[in-house]
Symmetry: C2
Subunit: 522 residues, 2 copies
Amino acid sequence: MAIPRVRSAVRVANCLPAERLAISLSNTPSFDHERHALRGLRRASTVSKDSNGRRKERVVILGSGWAGYGFARSLDPNKFERIMISPRSYFVFTPLLAGTAVGTLEFRAVLEPVRRLGLDQFHQGWADDIDFARKTIRVEANTSDDLASRTRLAMKHSPDGAEKGATFDVEYDKLVIAVGSYSQTFGIEGVREHANFLRDVGDARKIRQKVLQNFEKAALPITTDEERKRLLHFAIVGGGPTGIEYAAELHDLIRDDLTKTYPNLMEFVSITVYDVAPKVLPMFDKKLADYAMDRFKREGIQVKTEHHLTRIRPDEECEGCLKLKITEYGDEEVGAGIVVWSTGLMQNPLVQKLESKTFKMPSSDSKMQLQKHAKTGGIVTDANLRVHMVPNPATSKSSPDPESNAALLPDVYGIGDCTVISGVGLPATAQVASQQATHLAKRLNKGDIDKKPFKFRNLGTMTYLGNWTAIHQSSADELKGWMAWVLWRTAYLTRSMSIRNKITVPFYWAISWIFGRDISRF
Amino acid sequence: MAIPRVRSAVRVANCLPAERLAISLSNTPSFDHERHALRGLRRASTVSKDSNGRRKERVVILGSGWAGYGFARSLDPNKFERIMISPRSYFVFTPLLAGTAVGTLEFRAVLEPVRRLGLDQFHQGWADDIDFARKTIRVEANTSDDLASRTRLAMKHSPDGAEKGATFDVEYDKLVIAVGSYSQTFGIEGVREHANFLRDVGDARKIRQKVLQNFEKAALPITTDEERKRLLHFAIVGGGPTGIEYAAELHDLIRDDLTKTYPNLMEFVSITVYDVAPKVLPMFDKKLADYAMDRFKREGIQVKTEHHLTRIRPDEECEGCLKLKITEYGDEEVGAGIVVWSTGLMQNPLVQKLESKTFKMPSSDSKMQLQKHAKTGGIVTDANLRVHMVPNPATSKSSPDPESNAALLPDVYGIGDCTVISGVGLPATAQVASQQATHLAKRLNKGDIDKKPFKFRNLGTMTYLGNWTAIHQSSADELKGWMAWVLWRTAYLTRSMSIRNKITVPFYWAISWIFGRDISRF
């Protein structure tokens, strides 16, 4: 069943528990116990009890996004001890992020601090490794909020030896993997260094500052008109809802507010959305997507489909400007003041690490690994959101089809962007993550996880188009224009927010409507 | 009257205007016209006309603080062209800054963007030099908001050759110098590098982040109790109103909010205010200051008077902690997680530069310089806020008493922290700056600047003490406790704010009161 070398390793494992761990983790940097002991490693091991004095099951949640936060919020604290591990200490209400990036909303109005959930424990840090056999997570502490508030690119945990935080172990009875995804730069030169992302609140803040800063630079008497054109060309790469909404919000900001403060600069302003696909907003049907394009055309926002960006570099002739190389334009580069990157996701490095390692469960003799989804690289789960494991192909003689050999990894669940339900193709959206979170929490609360599979209920898709209009599409109906905008606002108000933000969000909408968007920078 | 060498210089000056300028500025780096022409230097010279088609007088305002912003706000735009030059693009309502540093208020609720004043021009930059004879200001552009939003220390324009922004010239008919002051570190080792200041909104943001970050660090299971004590010791240096109010607000935050999120950490928290003087709050009479100290004692905030801090350095045993050397404790250093520095002002480098140079006005033969106030180093003005100039002592044979030789520098006015009214000792406070600003604007609007001297009307001093109490003292009455707190809040609400912030500030007070202060970090 296994090749001789491995067999002997397994034999050693049976007598020496400590070594067994080292062996089972041989594909990854092993948990170096001595080193960590020297650094003051301690286990987080208080015991939480329910009202009858019984020890509560400890549920550890990795991540504080739509999946992780949503799950933690719905899990019954009377039945379970809730422990969350996430590098950032808050949940971001992502659909309103574009609004904060232009000052319509206050940043905090789209945040929910994790500490408010009243969890048993919250550890600000990255899950660095998981030992499924010993039910233990190695956590690397993160206390840099600045780092945590930005879009995650594949930089952290890269092999370039970046400084690591202190580490400690956390044990679980049940584990929920909800670590989400990272942004994908497709290896395009300069994207990582010069583009702005829009997935977290630190990103929104940076974009907002840069846009206003570019207007201020353009307003200086020493700036030439050619420089003004470049500084005030706002390029957005990616024609999905995030890119389109940001273009719309930016256009609102410029037309409603900046036009009053910088009237002489308006002639230099332009907004362009670039996408490689033949059409933007692919999740909407043609009628609605055409309506969106028609609106954009009327507002003067350019949409360039089938355009391939291949490089971003600083413009040496214009401080603070960028030059974009686009295949379709040949050698001539396009000048821009800012490039907002909103296309593509990739797997979290933790997911990649977990999928590449083999482990041995105490109940079985064979070496196992997580089942990896061939196309997306996500962790495969069953319809009940339980994580699949498959025999390690290198050591297994059985059928090469992983699906037929898949077993359940005991007490490990996966939800959100980092997972794929076996045989079901759901998009990596907030709506899916959020519904999975609620489903899993309900099932654990009721103790019927094996009885009810998860079913996605498509509530429709919405995108704000600027100037009080939006589009909305669901299986039942389609809406566009002002009515869709009303739906867009009310839907987001009623969903997944604290009462505090249910009050502050409409308050800020009203203030921005009456007095204009906030244009102060700091 | 003048020594021969200078006399010949003056003679040259009479024939060659370009060289005259270079000579008149010989004490400072001269305006290098060629270099700036190469960098695309242009003069900001649009012409603004009043309703009768006459060219309006151009008033250039340096600074956007209590003095500069207050003046620009009150100056009649129908009579004057208003141009402001300031490194930051907003006014900060400083009395509420301590509240933003603990999350009671949103940062933007204490800002007023300068662009909202509808000025004829706003240039974001530093006044780098002034040529009084040619009525021209050399401006160095600043487009880094991050830099502008922090307390200004004597770093910018230091002779260490820091990179300079592009420069351009602005001409004035009338000039108002309102550049304020910098923070004074008294050359104490480590203050500049490791202390936090609290004079601008970027400072408040940094303090807020650090305080919450320290709690998060202390909450990690790997942190020892000794480290927790250090991380959660909050030291404030300076027992003036700012230091005391920050201590009070911080105590409110901890007692009202953080005690719920980090109940196990409360035993490690301590707050200490250090001051070199024998008593804090020197502007209040003994009864009120004693009341304040009594309140602090009851809340557990320590006040250490007659304590001299001589060094701040990083604590090598505790990441993120500091060690304070205090003369009174000998070799034993005090550990702290954060040091908030709120003591001492020094003159703006521009003021020092202007005071050290000589110039020759077209109307006179003798070399002049600004009159410098002996004790504070401020620019001396007459009672009507017009800037004094005196003959250069090196070239003048007249009496050594500058006062008797003081003349008015035509069309140049000075208000706020950077100025001193000849023979009148007013404190460097927002109240003085604000009243001077309004007075000067009114006089210029009416054209009776020479008729009415400025008179300071003491409206009293207020300090928030935490837990819904404050103290208030004026010539007419004294108030303490809850009533003073009500007065404190209403006074600041009704003063010097936009309607927008008159609405948002009480809204945020209410939200914080109902739901607790905001503890999200990013």
